[in-house]
Amino acid sequence: MYIQESIKTKYPPGDLALWIFICAELLVFAIFFAAYAFTRASNIELFNQYQTTLNTDLALLNTIALLTSSYFVVSAIISIKENKQKQSTRFLFLSIIGGFAFLIMKMAEYSHHMSEGINLTTNLFYMFYLSLTFFHFMHVILGIMVLIILWLNTRKGLYTADNHGGLVSGGAYWHMVDLVWLILFPLIYIMR
């Protein structure tokens, strides 16, 4: 990513069709976030009250898990550019671990809520909290599947310094999952 710093391209690295898909996904989340913010404005007390029941510490760890996982994906791409397939494979494996760490922590949170009998119909705040995080959760699962495919492909040696478009595209999708959480974290856990 840094080798051709002087030559700028017109389109983002990776598959353009995938980038269009990423844009569409980001749009969905943007609408959901805006809906949350606007609904909160007319239910401030309710939202503030129930926001304090969320586990901010776990959310922090979750953010770091996703960031670390993304960091390893970037490292994997740098390695492949040096033709170090073995190293790249290891990095991808670590990024998958990061993804799973997120899933496990999030599931712990969900089971805590479930044990308290909270569901989509409990109140408007939980409706948004559960919808948004669960929709994101599904994206994490899809993203991990993408990472696993990339990992298997790298292990088979399908990517090289000259040919690793698939890795860059798949990586971009995983970063998108990260981006969404970076907005979601302050919005739902902190802002009140």
């Binding site: 990513m1 080798i3 051709q4 983002p12 805006a34 510490d57 740098i78 970063h175 981006l179």
Partner: protein
């Protein structure tokens, strides 16, 4: 290539630090009630700005948009700013 790893490390560290900062702002038991120190609106603006900066960093470095020029260079940052803007409206007014 050394440079690539170094940039990657710097960006990652910055992201983690910003995340920790966001988290601390939410810890009323550590820093006390935030509303006594700063106005609620400033608080929201700080949090949203941090989020936008983080998204920008990921777009630019992790998603390699710093190698792109023109419209696509800004696509992720633009998304963050628009989303942040829409969120800001009800929080600020």
């Amino acid at each position: 290539m050394e440079k690539s790893y170094r940039t990657n490390n710097i960006v990652f560290t910055t992201l983690v630090l910003l995340t920790l900062f966001t988290w601390i702002l939410g810890q009323t038991d550590i820093i006390g009630d935030i509303s006594e120190k700063i106005d609620g609106k400033e608080f929201f603006l700080i949090l949203l700005s941090i989020a936008i900066i983080k998204v920008h960093l990921i777009g630019d470095f992790f998603m390699h948009l710093n190698t792109v020029s023109g419209f696509w260079r800004w696509i992720i940052t633009l998304w963050a700013m628009l989303t942040g803007g829409f969120i800001a409206i009800p929080f600020l007014f």
